[in-house]
Symmetry: C2
Subunit: 498 residues, 2 copies
């Protein structure tokens, strides 16, 4: 948007993302209507500020007093969610202006994404916003999530925890899924914005805000079109030097059609230029949405690697081989390890172990062996990062074994099996704590691979620690994240994470 100063923009957006009160214009109690989706999410999500439902049909909604119109609310409101039909939005915005509303999230669709009348209507609301000093998010947005304000205001009711990843998405639906994945994977979010049609506030505006947001340390973007390409690249390049900016640029339906007609796999010219510009600026491009999330987990939880040399610790040989191959293909190096490390690790292993990197623990029963192997590697100045495979995740197999043992053996002690179950869980937790401690001491990333799908998610925070454990399900995911972190570290050595 055009704004007088950066400071005004930042202050304005700060009010929107940390509002003391919200009005829900078009709130509804009808299950599944947009007005109900947004209202019930905000209320059930535990928003602490004052909430004013606005709907002339009700005296009370969700146990709160309802207001006939925004003008009847007895105090100025910081943020209005507008969920009424498109044609009513200009008058609602006028009323917001009279109330003193500072920002509006316009959920309503039927603007520039639909037809000429919609485009005209969109211009009209921008003009009203500018006249009244209302910052407008959207229209046609899926909503916002501001965990530090306990404000969950989207149609999808996932509630990722507080964290350092900000996520701006031009696709609401895709944003919903990604915040849901973040929730499932334990990735903490500082902000989510569905930017919708970006009638007033655009991607570079959000980037400028996030540049200064103290909660945000990494920014991920899903974009389909860059309205003001020049300013976008300029701002993104600047912000990326301080905080990694990771972009997934989706093609357009036009591009899809062209591609289909030409039967080739080539990028459209615009996309090729965009990606080239990102590469030059050191901005990482993600290829698919899942990659945005995986990179978020790593960048928000691990120290940046200072080089590309990887130590691998694995419970089973095959996984070590596969991981070494992946490292190899992604430009990471799996160096041989010196004799003193081979000796130190070898003390805990049977004589026929691999005696090299990857360190194959050959299924050892020595529960301290993985920790010792990781520390020997991580403290050696010949490596920059460690990957550890199959230690976290083994708990899943222990559970299965306990069940079988109970079923198969009438003589086995039930109490003993319960103890094993508890010990296995504690072991996993203490292993994670140890990995996080090593990361603090040695300032090198340790990336875990669980192999089993665990319900505990990818990111495993440890109370009081700056870094978190990160355990991807597959080696290729871990290797990809590490390779990307190495690339970012080379290009933007000034940034420090988290």
């Amino acid at each position: 948007m055009k704004h007088t100063t950066d400071n005004q923009l930042i202050t304005g957006l700060d009010t929107i993302f940390n509002p003391g009160s919200v009005a829900l214009v078009g709130a509804s109690t009808t299950f599944g209507k947009w007005g109900q989706l947004i209202a019930s999410n905000i209320i059930a999500g535990g928003y602490k500020g004052r909430i004013f439902p606005v709907n002339p049909g009700y005296k009370e909604m969700f146990g709160l007093p309802a207001f006939e119109q925004i003008g009847k609310i007895p105090e100025p409101v910081d943020l209005a969610f507008i969920i009424t039909p498109a044609k009513t939005v200009p008058s609602v915005l006028e009323a917001c202006g009279q109330n003193g509303v500072k920002g509006a999230v316009i959920i309503t669709s039927g603007f520039s994404e639909s037809d000429q009348a919609g485009r005209d209507l969109e211009k009209e609301i921008v003009t009203i916003g500018q006249e009244k000093g209302i910052y407008i998010i959207g229209p046609n947005t899926m909503g916002i999530i501001a965990p530090y304000a306990d404000l969950f205001a989207t149609g999808a009711h996932s509630r990722p925890r507080k964290g350092s990843v900000a996520f701006i998405s031009q696709s609401g639906n895709l944003g919903n899924q990604l915040t849901h994945w973040a929730d499932q994977q334990g990735i903490g979010i500082s902000l989510f914005v569905g930017s919708g049609n970006e009638a007033m506030i655009t991607c570079p505006d959000y980037l400028e805000y996030l540049e200064h947001d103290p909660h945000t340390r990494i920014i991920i973007l899903y974009i389909e079109s860059v309205g003001h390409g020049g300013r976008f690249m300029e701002v993104a390049t600047r912000v990326n030097r301080k905080k990694p900016v990771i972009i997934l640029k989706g093609g357009t339906t036009e591009a899809g059609r062209t591609a289909a007609a030409s039967h080739t796999g080539s990028m459209s010219g615009e996309d090729a230029i965009f990606r080239g510009a990102c590469r030059q600026a050191g901005i990482l491009n993600a290829r698919v949405p899942s990659e945005l999330l995986n990179l978020s987990a790593g960048f928000s939880s691990l120290p940046l690697p200072k080089g590309n040399r990887v130590g691998i610790v694995t419970l089973g040989g095959g996984w070590g081989v596969v991981t070494a191959d992946e490292c190899n293909e992604r430009g990471l190096v799996v160096p041989p390890i010196p004799d003193h490390i081979v000796e130190a690790i070898g003390r805990r292993l049977p004589p026929f172990w691999s005696k090299g990197n990857p360190v194959d623990l050959v299924g050892t029963r020595d529960l301290d062996a993985p920790t010792i192997a990781v520390e020997e590697l991580v403290k050696w100045d010949g490596i920059d990062a460690v990957m550890v495979l199959g230690v976290v995740g083994r708990d899943e197999f222990v559970h299965l074994l306990i069940e079988s043992s109970r079923d198969a053996d009438p003589e086995i002690s039930r109490e003993f099996l319960d103890q094993i179950k508890t010990l296995s869980r504690h072991y996993e937790e203490s292993f994670i704590a140890k990995m996080v401690e090593f990361m603090e001491v040695y300032e090198k990333p340790i990336i875990g691979v669980s192999l089993a799908r665990t319900d505990s998610g990818t990111v495993r925070p440890v109370t009081g620690r700056r870094y978190s454990g990160v355990f991807y399900q597959t080696p290729e995911t871990g290797v990809n994240v590490l390779a990307r972190m190495v690339a970012y570290g080379r290009r933007s050595p000034v940034a420090s994470l988290p």
Copy 2:
């Protein structure tokens, strides 16, 4: 192995994988010992044949009579699992020979994978096996799983359901994880073999057996070395014409070291030759273990596509764009659709819908719209496959919304919310049934993408149907599988699946 005729080999392996009785030599009741892992898994897994634990220290184990030595078992046993120390294995095998044992799965390690003494010992057991007519699997194997015999005999206690995917792995640990993933994802298995050191029975032997196994329709292999490269490629090429053979070749630790030293990402010469040979033979190579599983789900559940033209149906625009981009990059075509299809689908959608392929259902509430859109696409002869995004998986968001609504709204009917929950589940099931029905009618694959991680797994069988629903979590996974199926279909048009 050297064997007199193919028939003998097939009959021999058939007895091993469908044994009427098993002896567990070295069975143990000590939690976590190999003898306990294998025994408790076989018993808890519900094996229906006779089980003879052999351990001189016990009169009874797992509620079964235990035998001092294999010679004391009062009847000939089909299959012996040998879990005693390496140096005892020759005499155990001799005893097996006297009993009339037809096959032995030698779990014990300490053979050719360890040192010269181990290599000598391995030669000795092969000689004994040949003299006594005992087929040997392993040694140093993680075990076998034969679901059609209800025989689960590995150290990992996952129990994938009966199905058509056979899996041979030279890495036991990797095999364990993959069978566990198969179990979690609902992928049905016809056989799993950890082939271990392959002292006697080698990969091409298993391939020859599987070529004739009526339960097996797709074969996946994890291999690190091919002992008899010529015979392997010859057999794999032949079998692949009837049943897809998908291979993941892991590098070797040596290769990893070389790669590290040279700082390049190039393949070792041997690997490059191997992959080239596979390409020529039309054998698919997987890059990572997860891909083996994803391909298994698709190849075992869907009809083969006859071409590369894809119709895309999506609940949200962003995901359609990302999927079209992925198709594009993988050589699949997303063609424009003719007016009559646009009209037919448009009847169920608001006027501002995309009117093209991908078909963006713009979040419609019309629950029949996705089914109609898929059928309109799949029955058109201008496309060969359909991808449908976000319909299955939406149930997850419905659940979250129901919880919020309950929390936020004191007035809302609890009974109504429970009904919605049930309806949503039924809708998902009936949608899956419809997709499978379309696949039978039109003989084209329909690949689902759930976007949300669902507990129901990737493969969703429908009773009485030849095909199953397949719902990957991400579009890139679905697109990759489709691209690989297109490639296979081109090279091996005679094979029909499943």
